[in-house]
Point group: C2
Chain length 150, copies 2
């Protein structure tokens, strides 16, 4: 079933905001994709391809939020790797492969991360040139959403 607003939202898995409430969406208005850090990982790109090329989505909004936990992951990959190694059979040196930090997707700047996602969709070869892509950041402290101008 296509979403009523022909909209897909990429948001964070974080619990401090409800995507529907933040954007004033009714049930059925949008497809909602959520992951750690609202980044354009491979699975999110896959989901957007289905949205755009099968479900009639014409607008994509990337919704970041202030104080995102993924800003800690950007410098905290060793802590995660140690925890993996301590709770599984995989030795630390195997967890810490050269691409591990990049794969985790941590970042330092919430707005820059949203901007990067917007650019990635806009320039992606499998996305239509007339797809509208908007970047937004939700402020956990004052409850406001502001657009990322680019």
């Amino acid at each position: 079933m296509p979403p009523a607003l022909e909209l897909a939202v990429v948001a964070c898995m974080d619990t401090r905001h409800s995507v529907e409430k933040v954007l004033g969406l009714k049930h059925g208005d949008a497809k909602v994709i959520r992951n750690a850090g609202n980044i354009l990982d491979d699975g999110t790109l896959r989901s957007l391809i289905v949205c755009v090329h099968r479900l009639g989505v014409k607008h994509v909004a990337i919704l970041g939020h202030t104080k995102c936990g993924m800003t800690l992951v950007g410098r905290g990959e060793f802590r995660i790797a140690k925890n993996i190694s301590a709770t599984t059979d995989v030795p630390l040196h195997e967890v810490m492969r050269p691409d591990f930090q990049r794969w985790l997707g941590g970042f330092e700047d919430v707005e820059e991360n949203v901007r990067r996602g917007v650019q990635l969709i806009r320039t992606h070869p499998l996305m239509p040139r007339d797809l509208q892509v908007l970047g937004l950041v939700y402020d956990n402290e004052n409850g406001r959403v502001h657009p990322i101008i680019d």
Copy 2:
């Protein structure tokens, strides 16, 4: 911030159900990851690694739902590929690479898809052996959730 119930939910991006309402979750109870078909794609695995090894998640629920649109994608990859080709610069033969259908993640059986996701997490080398993983299916017609016994 860790989720209050130490729970992460992997659900579908579909609009016909609110994850929180279906599972009776309050805001902050769980991290919610959503993608096309609630499958364990690379991005969802990445998000779960952050949940489990950084945010104290001890329980993972995979929540499928009846009449999932991804059961149509499993046999409809040619339609999607044609739409991509018609709206971008990528010729059809380049869209239809050998792994395109698999990458899209379509499936035929909703319960089997949930069961496959549960098994993938339970046997994944980077997941702790004491992680609890539960499979659930939401019935769009009667509003009930039933567990997938395996």
